[in-house]
Symmetry: C2
């Protein structure tokens, strides 16, 4: 059961002008479920992406990077399949990813390098090209509408809830829409972005600024979540600006970024990305709790993130949350092994929501077990760690480690 | 159920001359189980230790370091309690650890800094000093014998099997014994040594050499295992040389280390330490499989260890082993995120025992799923990863991640 997460309402996901959506059931791995998504973008659309740092990155990730470079970010279509990651597939995998782009480009009458391909699913297996190409054809036939909920459903794997989010803002009297989707529940510790996130706006945004916002939005959202610490081979986050509305963020990246309109649009994009990223954690494999790990008083951002992720990855911390057991020494043990070589534990404070648990290297004199117990029983909990070394801070979102995580991952392929 | 691990036979654990053993049931956390161990060492005994790098290190670890320094490694007694780690306990924790040493020293008529204290159990709670001091008294009353199986049982926490190992070697016509014990099943990713390992020999060894061997033995054994990636606050590995046999490894550390006798004794110590370390993995919380992750062709030792530990820590790899599911792309995904920034995946080979799974960035042409399945069903499996970059190699031992791991850690305190 996901933690405080329901499928978004269809009417809460407004159309992004310049984006058409088509889906199909191609039977890539299982029959009778949507597993192919095509997004057609209006002429003039631009896209920017950030991708996994995993060295065993998937073939579609390699092709996405190539196409973004050769097309100068002028992207006209995205194609996504689930059921097979096309990772660990060598030369054949690259050929398959390119063939998918060519087939879609031919159908749409666009250049092959204006197509970005994405895959997610099992690693080390080849794409079933015949079924995939038939699915792409069917998805193209379905183009025309703009049902973002269908799109979110078409990219689910072990997700139990489709993930989509939207914001509308007014810029100079015009409405601009930002709508996005994401998938992911396991193998989640994005190193640049998470396993498939797509956010589109109908504003026009210069390519350099779009690229910068893609990085910044990923850094404030997908790069701050973890379910199991496993960085995927297929992580991709793509930000699209179709320019199909009448709003344009003009000028050079540097100056344009400072305008009030640009700030408002950037903020809307970050909000959508963060809501999607948190949805992935809420739907994390086996999750029963949504945990925010906030670290402050760090010397720099890297130190804050190292401590936060060490706590967020600790199987012992995560099983204690699953059990609602305030076995909070496990959090201190994780802080202590986070690689901060000169950490003075006497200056560390630990809070669980409003409860002051530890101070001066030990238990807070007023801390009572029943206070810790009260917080641990909640479905959403903030762990706050104050290092007392500086002014840097960060927040990482994670979930607990339950029996269902083991069941899901022991049974995934069988 | 531990993996191919049974309690050692009492008669397979020979006496180490110069070591007396006493245990007691002090009721530290639970009643009716041995939870205090005292080892009395003969005059002239030396000890060397390596300890956790966790910044939240336990009070007894601090006191051990102080006493080894101030006594010049002349150690006459070790005292160990389970049920409470005395970590995250601030000044009171240090005072309690020192008081334990003083009480034992008074009873034995030795200096307080000739005592090394060790604790293991729950973090963030204070030692119940009245019960502990009574337990120390009872353990001293029980001194005289040398039952290493009793000693191994007295330091168990979530262990299901007592862990002890021994080797006897002949040096210059004399028999030298090396016997040791260890405990640990969870919070296992030693950063210098594991949560309580003690190895004693009756040879005499110069202090500097003993210290070097303690580091080298830990590095070849306890520092090469992981259950859940969580480095404990209490990890301690202590090597004792009583000198009570007639064999002495004489001379300066540098020259003595080169003698045939020194090499033979060092090898026996490493064997005992490695057997104990592997026993911890075999008894890892919830373990059903014993996995050796061997990395070769690395550019240097650090790179080999980073890849091996990333694979050994991956929850997705570990759940696949639990399921006996050859979902081997998960291993490649872990190799790819191990931080080797310029890894050429086309040069990476992956073997599962004798089965060649992956090559040139993808599945090996001759690999068949049923071959992977055959190996995955075994209780002991070697994962061999060839990076094709250099000549460094290492091996790390780990276990799978099962439902029982979650149960054990969700229920540990309750």
């Amino acid at each position: 059961m996901p933690v405080n997460l329901e499928a978004p309402r269809r009417d809460a996901l407004p159309v992004v002008a310049g984006v058409e959506i088509g889906t199909a059931c191609a039977g890539i791995r299982k029959t009778g479920r949507r597993d192919v998504l095509v997004l057609r973008l209006a002429p003039g659309a631009r896209a920017a992406g950030v991708f996994t740092q995993n060295r065993f990155c998937a073939a579609p990730v390699v092709v996405c990077r190539e196409h973004l470079a050769s097309s100068g970010a002028s992207v006209r279509a995205l194609v996504v399949n689930t059921g097979c990651a096309n990772a660990g597939t060598g030369e054949q995998g690259l050929a398959d990813a390119r063939a998918s782009c060519e087939a879609l480009a031919t159908r749409l009458g666009i250049a092959a390098d204006a197509v970005l391909p994405f895959s997610t699913g099992v690693i080390l297996e080849h794409l079933p090209m015949q079924r995939l190409l038939a699915g792409i054809d069917a998805a193209v036939d379905a183009l025309g509408g703009s049902d973002w909920l269908d799109a979110a459903e078409a990219i689910m794997t072990t997700d139990t809830v489709p993930k989509a989010a939207s914001r509308r803002i007014e810029l100079g009297g015009q409405t601009v829409t930002v709508t996005g989707i994401a998938k992911g529940a396991g193998m989640i510790r994005p190193d640049m972005a998470t396993m498939l996130g797509f956010v589109a706006t109908d504003a026009a945004v210069p390519a350099a600024l779009l690229s910068r916002w893609a990085r910044e939005a990923a850094d404030a959202s997908f790069n701050r979540i973890t379910v199991d610490g496993d960085t995927s081979t297929n992580d991709s986050f793509v930000l699209v600006a179709t320019g199909a509305s009448s709003v344009a963020i003009d000028g050079q990246a540097g100056r344009a970024a400072d305008s009030a309109a640009a700030q408002a649009l950037r903020e809307a994009i970050v909000c959508v990305a963060r809501e999607l990223a948190q949805a992935i954690v809420r739907d994390g494999e086996g999750a029963t709790k949504f945990i925010s790990v906030h670290v402050e008083g760090a010397r720099d951002d890297g130190e804050a993130a190292a401590v936060a992720f060490t706590v967020a990855h600790s199987p012992l911390v995560k099983t204690a949350f699953f059990a609602s057991d305030p076995n909070l020494g496990r959090i201190l043990a994780a802080v202590g092994r986070a690689g901060v070589a000169d950490l003075d534990v006497d200056r560390v404070d630990l809070y669980l929501d409003d409860v002051h648990v530890a101070t001066r290297g030990g238990r807070h004199p007023q801390y009572r077990e029943e206070d810790g117990q009260r917080v641990m029983k909640k479905a959403e909990i903030e762990v706050r760690i104050v290092l007392g070394r500086g002014s840097a801070s960060t927040t990482v979102w994670t979930c607990d480690l339950s029996h269902d995580y083991v069941s899901i991952n022991a049974d995934y392929r069988s």
